[in-house]
Structures are given as C-alpha cells and as structure tokens.
C-alpha cells in the first residue's frame, strides 16, 4: 500500500473529516453565540412550560401549605359537564372563539383595503398612514377607557349621535349581546388595523413594478392586477398576519375586561380573562394551568391547520 506513489496528498476521506471538524467548530461557535438567548429561552419559556404542566397535575393553591397531586383531575373536571369550572371555562372559550372568528376577517380585509389605498401615489399618503397607525400606539388601558365612555348605552357619545340622527339611541353597546361583540370587534379593528396595514403595505412595496407593467401589457385592468399580481405577491405576508391576528384575537383580554367587564352575565369573558381570574385571583393555579394547556392545544391545532393551508396553496 505504501508503494502507491500517487496517493493524493489529501484523500477525500480526510478532507471530509476535516470539513466535519470545521463544521463541528462552526456549530459550536453558533451555539456559543446562541447561549445567552438559549439561557433566557430555557428560563423563561421552557422551564415555565414544564412547571406549568407539573402544576396542572396538582390541586395547586400557592397560598396553602400543601399542593396535593391529583393526576389528570383538573383536566377531567374541565371535560365533565356540571363541574365547578367546566361551564365557565367553555363559556369563556366560546367567547374567545366568537371574538376570533368575528374579528380576524376584518383584521385582514380592512387593513388590506387601506394598504391598497395607501399604496396609490397619493398626496399626503404618509399622513394617512400615520393616522391609521396612531391608535395602535395607545395602550389597551387607554383605548378601553375611551371606548367605554363613548359606548356607554345611557350617557355615551355614540348613542347620543345616533339619537341626533334619528336612529335608535338606546343600543346596549357594552351591556348585551350581540352588541358587545360588535363593540369589541369594532374597537379592536380600529385599534390594531394600523399594524397589519403597515405590514401589508411593506409587502406591496416589495412587489416589483415590472410585474405590474407586464400585467398591463397583457391587458390587465385594476382588478386583474390586484388578483393576479398583488394578492399572490402578498401570500407570505398574509400568512404572517393571519397567524398573528388569530393568536392575538385568541389572547384577547383587555378590551373585554375594561369595556364590557364580561357582560352580559359572563358571556363576553374571554378564556384568558377566566384563566387569569382562576389562577391569580382565586389562587387555583392547578386548574388555571390545565385551562392554559387546553387553550394552547387549541391554538396549536389552529396554527398547524393555518400553516398547512397556506403551504398547500404554494
């Protein structure tokens, strides 16, 4: 073997192993760079997830000396009709579902329409962009208080204005269904549409003008350009804002908490509101954690479906 003179100075195998060594070093370096984030990620995401799962298996009242292990009891109770928590929990999940289904289409369509308008070369376009984005800058406490005042069925400005125009002036915007849903969805769309608009606008600006030119040459009108160029070009952007809008709507808390206080009865109390009440106010950490996991599971399924749908299309 040693007599083979023409053995290459570096055999493919050794080159490979050296490359692998470099690769390992590279991976190691990458991990080193990631460490600070990974530590935070583990401490504030992974550890709480595991702790939460552990807590959900106990009758966990943090203020009492003992936290007895109850196995899946907290979960079983949530699926047992007539138990202390199941009725309220599923009512709150229903509230969250109603809000999400009602708000997400508006959170996509309205910002898209606005983005199309703002994308035109208009004079003062920037001003409008700023105006539409402005509410998003406000905190939920601010918009909650403002709208609670405006929507008050008896002393609110909205009903006064409706009355002055000869329309019904005693609509229970913050007190009874279905009005509370219209209020909550309306307020949320007004508040957060600026964010989606800006994202969509950025997406539109990323679509090359040559595509529009080509479409124009082929005789496409405004509508055809919109459906043939703009919408397909925005597909990844839409996937992003659909996902974030669904998750944000499913996590709605402040608007219900401040504007309707869950009224009528507990009908507009969202899942997050109920979980926070059970866990933080009533100190039922075990039950609240179990509820969080069920909410998480539902959202995970919805997100997976959402991703699948978008992927199949492309």
């Amino acid at each position: 073997m040693a007599s083979l003179p023409l053995a290459p100075a570096t055999s493919p195998a050794s080159r490979l192993s050296r490359a692998a060594g470099r690769g390992r070093r590279k991976t190691l370096t990458a991990y080193l760079f990631l460490t600070p984030f990974l530590v935070l990620f583990c401490v504030f995401v992974v550890a709480p997830i595991i702790t939460g799962l552990w807590v959900s298996l106990h009758d966990w009242n943090p203020l009492l000396p003992r936290q007895p292990f109850v196995g899946l009891q907290n979960y079983i109770e949530l699926f047992t009709p007539g138990s202390l928590t199941s009725g309220d929990f599923w009512e709150s999940m229903r509230a969250t579902a109603i809000f999400t289904i009602a708000s997400v289409p508006f959170l996509l369509v309205v910002p898209f329409a606005l983005a199309v308008l703002l994308h035109q070369k208009l004079k003062g376009g920037t001003v409008f962009r700023a105006i539409f984005f402005a509410p998003y800058v406000l905190g939920v406490a601010v918009i909650g208080v403002i709208w609670k005042f405006l929507l008050d069925p008896q002393s609110g400005t909205l009903n006064k204005v409706l009355g002055a125009m000869g329309l019904p002036d005693s609509i229970p915007w913050t007190v009874d269904v279905p009005w509370v849903w219209i209020s909550l969805v309306g307020v949320t769309v007004w508040w957060t549409m600026g964010f989606n608009t800006v994202i969509l606008l950025a997406g539109m600006q990323g679509i090359g003008s040559e595509l529009y030119d080509a479409a124009a040459v082929d005789g496409a009108g405004v509508w055809r350009k919109l459906t043939g160029v703009t919408l397909p070009g925005l597909r990844p952007v839409f996937m992003f804002i659909t996902t974030t809008s669904i998750l944000a709507s499913a996590n709605m808390f402040g608007q219900s908490f401040l504007i309707t206080a869950g009224a009528p009865g507990d009908e507009s109390r969202t899942a997050i509101m109920y979980i926070a009440d059970q866990g933080l106010k009533q100190s039922q950490m075990g039950a609240a954690s179990a509820m969080s996991y069920i909410l998480f599971a539902c959202l995970a399924v919805i997100s997976v479906i959402n991703f699948r749908l978008q992927r199949e299309r492309s």
Partner: protein
C-alpha cells in the same frame, strides 16, 4: 396586536412564576405568635402599610395622618402604599410568602378569614385585650366578623353600609316634596309612579356587583332569607326570599322605573344628572366629588321586605405575617393602629364610618358630616358577610345571575338557581382546600 400577545405572554409568565414562587416558599404558617400590644419603644423601624385608599379624600387624608403620626413617633416610620383593592388582593399573598409584603394592611372584612386561613395574618387576640376593645366598642357583630377559628385576625377600622340616595332637584321638578323620603315598598311605589307620570324613570337599576349585588343582598335579608345555610355549606340565596328580592329589582325595569341595559356605574351617573331620583348607593359615595353640585340627601334604605336589614361592608386592620416577620415592625404597627383609631374622626370625610363607637358617637362627627346620620342609624340592623375562607369569591358568583335576570335572559328564580349550583360547588372546593 403584538402588544396583546405580549401581555398574554406576560400574564402566563406571571401565573407560572407565581405558582413557582408559592411552591418554593411554603411553610411560613404555623406558630401563632400574637401581634401583641401597642406602645412600641424599641429601635427605629419602618412599617410597610398597604391599603386600597386610592380615591377621594383618603388620598390626602392618609398621608396627612401618617405624617402627623411619624412626627409624633421618632422611632417609627410608617410608609403607605396605596393600590387598587383588586391589585392588593392579587399582590399581597405572594409578597408575604416571599417576605416582601407589608407589616400592616387594611382589607375588606370578608377577606380576613381567607387571609387568616392562608396563614398570612398574625392573630391579634392580645392586641384586642391590651387595647381594651370588646364587642360593645364596635357596631353589632363587626368585631366577630374579623374572627376566624377562635382567633381575632381583623381589627375593625371602618364600616360602609348602603343607603337610599335622593336627588332633591329631581323630586321637586316632578312636583314631589323633596323632604319626604320613601320608607317602605308602598311609599316607594307611590313616589316612583308620581315620577313616572312626570316623565321620569325614578330609580335606575343595573346588573353589576356595585351596587346592584349589594342591594340584592340587603333585600334578601329584608325578606327573611340569607346567603348561606347556618353551617355555611349550602347556598340559600335562591330561596323564595331571594326570588322576591331579585323580582323586586327586575320589576323596576318592567314597571318602567328604570331603563333596561343600564351600564356599569350607570345608576350613580344617572343619579348625579338627576335622571334617576333614587338610588341605593354605598356610604362611600357621600364623598364623591361629582355630587358636590347636586342637591341631594340620603336616608336609610326603605323597608321593602318584612324586616329591617341592609348590607354593609367593613374594612379591617390586619397585622401581616411575612416570612421571617420582624416582631418590632409588628409592634410598631400596633402602635400605629391604636393611634389611627383614636384619630379616625375625620375618616368620615372619606365616606366611610369609623368603626369605633366612641369616635363615631362623638357629636363633633355629625356636626362636621351631617349627611352620615342616616347611615349611622342603620348600623344596629346592618348585616356583614360570614367569616369563612373563600366566601368572597362565592358571593361574587351571584352577580352574573343578577345581570342575566336584569337583562331578562333568565327569570329571577332560574338565574339564582343556576348561581346556587356553582356556589355550592365552590363552597365544597373551599372546604376541601381550607378545611371546615
């Protein structure tokens, strides 16, 4: 939207952190050293004092009293941390478990037993003895409402009954005598009919805890019912008395004395504007600055049922048991409480009645705050919540039922029955968590 997501994440993190914190720091209960007696003479200490006095006159009065106390007591510095009652309830237990809670706090009377059962409060039996307080020094059954498991945990500070607020302008405008107040169901109906004839819906009602929930409780007791069975194991607010009480309230809407769908806080707003001539409000509303431009008066709540009764809240001092509670701080806190009770006359300006009889019966009080007279007159028959851990959360379950009945979604009977089913389950859970 990001922000909403973030807040949800923060809420979840807080939930889990709280659970973890609780898990790490158990075992601070047990060992019942008493809060002891007053007149602290030890080394200089700072007493952390948490309270829910965030509004109205209390905002100026509390710091003023504390400044005066601090200057008179060179070895004690009391530091007040006012926060919303809800925040206080949420923050204090875990802060105490971590040893970072207050040495002294004021809480609602109905929560004292819950705090005590959680081992967060020091018993104050010796304190009561040293200060020489007995049942007779306070309105009937207030001192007892701060007792739990054979120990005194809450020292009464103030009591807060409901009253009937009357907008005199509204009555005059409708041609009624503003000096004649309705005293029972018949005279109430008469006045409301007269107001209705004059085109005014005279007594607005809504379906929220403040104050419709409190009005319901008052009426329930007036009709001879009670919230719970004697042994506090079963809800009884869905009895005939409860149905009568809630029906009386829903009839206000049916008979046209109140518009439907009144929003939270809408009854007081309507009273201030004069749209509503009568309103059941808490004594705390007497200090509402919005009432300053209104010609109003208050009387005892009318007797609608068969016996006199009115719901009253109370606030109590509690000496808190931090992990490694410093005895000197507790002793200094006792000195402060003793001093505050003795200087509580002007507490009336906050719209709360000082709990100590000697202070409340001082003629100077009514000279300065004459509008409080009817509220003080109610105290002999005023009713408090029973002292039992977790009872506050059970009582809050009634409110959605009241709302559903007021909105006409359920009959009063159905609404109360549904609430009672839940209440019974929560009572059971409380029993299993806190023991009997």
């Amino acid at each position: 939207m990001r922000r909403m997501m973030r807040s949800a994440v923060v809420a979840t993190a807080a939930l889990l952190a709280a659970a973890t914190l609780g898990a790490c720091s158990g075992g601070s209960s047990g060992g019942s050293t008493d809060a002891g007696s007053g007149d602290y003479k030890g080394p200089k200490v700072t007493v952390a004092f948490w309270n829910g006095f965030t509004g109205g006159n209390a905002l100026q009065l509390v710091p003023k009293l504390i400044d005066q106390f601090n200057s008179e007591h060179p070895n004690i510095v009391v530091k007040s941390s006012p926060m919303q009652w809800d925040d206080l309830d949420a923050k204090m237990p875990l802060a105490l478990k971590a040893g970072k809670g207050p040495d002294l706090a004021v809480a609602h009377g109905e929560d004292v037993a819950t705090y005590a059962a959680q081992g967060l409060v020091l018993p104050a039996d010796k304190t009561v003895k040293t200060l020489g307080y007995s049942e007779d020094d306070f309105p009937t059954s207030v001192l007892a409402s701060g007792r739990y498991d054979g120990h005194q945990y809450g020292l009464p500070w103030s009591v807060t009954p409901l009253g009937l607020f009357i907008n005199r302008t509204a009555l005059s405008e409708a041609g009624l005598d503003p000096n004649t107040a309705p005293t029972d169901a018949a005279s109430t109906k008469q006045a409301l009919e007269a107001l209705k004839a004059a085109g005014r819906q005279g007594e607005w009602v809504s379906g929220y805890r403040y104050n419709d929930g409190l009005e319901f409780e008052s009426l329930l007791w007036q009709f001879g019912g009670d919230l719970f069975s004697k042994d506090l194991t079963k809800p009884t607010f869905n009895s005939d008395a409860g149905v009568q009480a809630l029906t009386y309230m829903t009839d206000k809407i049916k008979d046209g004395y109140s518009p439907p769908n009144v929003a939270e806080g809408g009854t007081l707003k309507a009273f201030i504007t004069g749209d509503s001539a009568f309103s059941w409000q808490g004594v705390w509303s007497t200090s509402d600055p919005a009432l300053q431009g209104v010609d109003w008066t208050a009387t005892a709540v009318p007797l609608i049922g068969t016996q006199r009764a009115v719901r009253t809240g109370s606030t109590d001092w509690m000496f808190m048991r931090n992990k490694n509670q410093d005895k000197n701080k507790t002793a200094a806190a006792v000195t402060f409480v003793q001093w505050m009770n003795a200087h509580s006359l002007d507490w009336a300006s906050t719209g709360e009645l000082p709990a100590l009889n000697s202070v409340r019966e001082d003629p100077e009080l009514l000279q300065k705050y004459p509008k409080l007279a009817p509220f003080i007159g109610e105290l002999p028959y005023a009713r408090y919540y029973p002292a039992k851990p977790g009872i506050g959360a059970v009582i809050k379950l009634i409110t959605p039922g009241i709302d559903e009945a007021m909105l006409g979604k359920k009959t009063p009977k159905q609404a109360l029955d549904d609430a009672a089913v839940q209440a019974e389950q929560l009572l059971k859970r409380n029993e299993s968590q806190y023991g009997g």
